[in-house]
């Protein structure tokens, strides 16, 4: 059994209440942090090696150290609880079952950054979670962990929950800030970065729910202790949201570095594929990351077992690898249709594009149309090249990364499943009544000969 840092007490009855949470050592890290200097806290977070859990994987300690500290200006910590990336549902879980962990992390983070007012921006559909957080905040405040002069330290903090209005794009941090200011969620052009000019033009850090929760064990046990867990630069534990065709969907806290094979097939985690079916493909990090066929998700092209770590998942780059992303792990069994799924995801991105940049607004719409005709048997063999061409014209040419996030799933699906797309064209009528099946997507990879020594 792997170590649990976030979900250790998740099954303790009443852990969502202040008293039970406190009895399990909850809020000890706040007491400890308030006796530390803010620089020392940032130093511990740096030592921990924690990388942002929202998707981009940027080192949290470094992000905190970039925050500008001009005289006379407020600074803000904003928690990103917009969780809308298809396949990702860990933040909802954490907020539902152990809300005080997030609040404890927010207090420590706000203190370290010098913020006296902080916000948790929660997607509007999570009204039950908003109620849970508001209740937990009131409890913490009544016990002296929020408000004026916390634990007699002289530090003041007010923490508020802000609902969104239903828009995936508000997970992008500058769109989130716009939305929090009461505007449409249009991402801003960077620079300036939020660390310089964020909420109401003030220096701001935006962090994911899970990143903020991870601050608690880091301060409690020390950054070095945290960094002992995991593998290489993938330190600590990670919440993985597992969905799709697996026996035990749900949230798993893993030590980074377990093998993908173990994660899918062992009883400790997903428990294999239902109904004795075989695995066809996996989207390992939320809908935005490249999809891989079964053989490439289980092993890298160098025939090494692939691990659940930032480095191993991206081993091979976009040619043969993928990304950790937000940890939204979606498994597809042999009866799933890759074309249909790619169309579905593209429809999602088209729907969610904020519309500011033409390549994203128009390109996602074109891709959706072409994929729709492929799925319904009216495609042409040239459509695959057309799709790749459109995806290349979106990638890198937009204000925010939603454009890339829409382009990658399409490009990778065609890269790895081109014969299935072609079959949809050559067998158009058949493709509307049955699926392509597993084909060769789980076959063992060819063992590469080691490259001959140069010379």
């Amino acid at each position: 059994m792997g170590r649990k840092l976030l979900l250790e007490h998740i099954n303790v009855p009443g852990i969502e209440t202040f008293d039970v949470y406190r009895s399990k050592g909850g809020y000890d890290a706040v007491a400890k942090a308030l006796k530390m200097s803010t620089d020392d806290i940032v130093e511990e977070v740096k030592k921990s090696g924690l990388r942002g859990r929202g998707g981009a994987g940027f080192p949290t300690g470094m992000k905190w150290s970039f925050l500008a500290k001009p005289e006379g200006k407020a600074r803000y910590l904003v928690c990103n609880a917009d969780e809308s990336e298809p396949g990702t549902f860990k933040d909802r879980y954490l907020m539902t079952y152990i809300p005080h962990l997030l609040i404890e992390g927010m207090i420590i983070g706000s203190y370290a950054l010098g913020a006296n007012v902080s916000y948790i921006y929660v997607r509007g559909e999570m009204m039950p979670q908003i109620r849970i957080l508001e209740k937990a905040i009131a409890e913490a405040k009544a016990k002296g962990f929020l408000g004026k002069n916390i634990l007699g330290s002289g530090y003041d903090l007010e923490l508020y929950v802000q609902p969104g209005g239903g828009a995936y794009i508000c997970g992008e941090e500058t769109a989130l800030i716009e939305s929090l200011e009461g505007k449409r969620g249009n991402p801003r052009i960077k620079p300036p970065f939020p660390a310089i000019a964020g909420l109401w033009g003030c220096p701001t850090v935006v962090n994911n729910v899970e990143s903020i929760a991870a601050i608690v064990p880091i301060i409690r046990d020390g950054g070095d202790e945290y960094a002992k867990i995991g593998i290489g630069r993938s330190t600590g534990t990670k919440l993985i949201s597992a969905s799709g065709n697996i026996n035990k969907p749900g949230i798993y806290e893993i030590e980074l570095g377990v093998s993908v094979e173990d994660f899918i097939y062992s009883d400790e985690y997903c428990g294999g594929i239902p109904n004795g079916k075989r695995l066809k493909a996996v989207v390992a990090g939320g809908s935005s990351v490249p999809i891989l066929p079964a053989n490439l998700i289980l092993k890298t092209v160098n025939n090494q077992p692939r691990l659940m770590s930032y480095e191993s998942l991206s081993d091979g780059g976009f040619a043969t690898g993928t990304m950790m992303g937000s940890g939204g792990f979606i498994a597809f069994d042999e009866d799933q249709c890759i074309v249909r799924n790619t169309w579905n995801f593209t429809r999602f991105y088209h729907h969610e594009s904020c519309g500011q940049c033409s390549p994203c607004r128009e390109g996602t719409g074109w891709m959706e149309k072409v994929l729709h005709r492929l799925e319904y048997g009216h495609g042409k063999l040239s459509d695959m090249d057309l799709l790749v061409d459109v995806s290349k014209k979106i990638e890198g040419n937009t204000i925010c990364p939603l454009g890339d996030a829409a382009a990658w799933p399409v490009a990778s699906a065609i890269r790895h499943f081109r014969d299935e797309f072609e079959w949809h064209v050559t067998n158009g009528a058949e493709a509307t009544s049955r699926n392509y099946g597993l084909a060769h997507y789980a076959d063992p990879l060819p063992v590469l000969e080691p490259a001959p020594a140069a010379g």
Partner: protein, 175 residues
């Protein structure tokens, strides 16, 4: 699409209790930044009236001391704000990837058949309407739907559980 003329006939009154809730929202932001309260306040309006009408938006603008267009552009950008009345129970079914892998499309067809109305239309008794929405961050419990204004979740849907839900809500509405 928002058509102001559709709604202009429906005057609304904000009760003192509702205004008190607005005041509480606005107290969360620094002086002069009350516009930040717009999204939460639109949710409060929708919870009260079931949807967000043009006269209601104009009143919100006046309350926040901003232009009406600043409210319209926000209300129409976000998917949660309803620009026309819906059924008393508005079933929002997730239609995105992971839910589709587990039968979301069949469930949507089943709901359409069961209620006898197309996406976005209201049943003659005014009780139900439905639509497909994007990933609701519950992909492991697919297929899922939510019902506002408290956004209660119903997970691992089957035709039988949809039958039961509709029966329960119909009974609840009669009481």
């Amino acid at each position: 699409m928002l058509r102001v003329e559709d709604t202009i006939q429906t005057p609304v009154e904000f009760s003192a209790a509702l205004i008190a809730k607005f005041d509480d929202v606005v107290s969360r932001y620094p002086e002069g930044k009350q516009k930040a309260g717009l999204l939460p306040i639109l949710h409060l309006v929708q919870a009260e009236f079931g949807w967000v009408s043009a006269p209601a938006m104009d009143k919100v603008a006046a309350y926040l001391n901003i232009q009406p267009v600043e409210v319209y552009e926000v209300a129409t950008f976000y998917t949660m704000y309803l620009m026309k009345p819906q059924g008393k129970y508005f079933l929002e079914v997730c239609r995105t990837g992971p839910c589709c892998l587990n039968g979301a499309e069949d469930i949507m067809k089943y709901i359409e058949q069961k209620l006898g109305v197309k996406e976005g239309d209201v049943t003659p008794d005014g009780l139900f309407s439905w639509r497909g929405v994007e990933c609701l961050a519950a992909c492991g419990f697919a297929p899922v739907l939510q019902i506002g204004p408290e956004y209660t979740f119903y997970e691992n849907l089957t035709p039988a559980s949809v039958d039961k839900l509709v029966a329960d809500l119909t009974a609840q509405a009669k009481n």
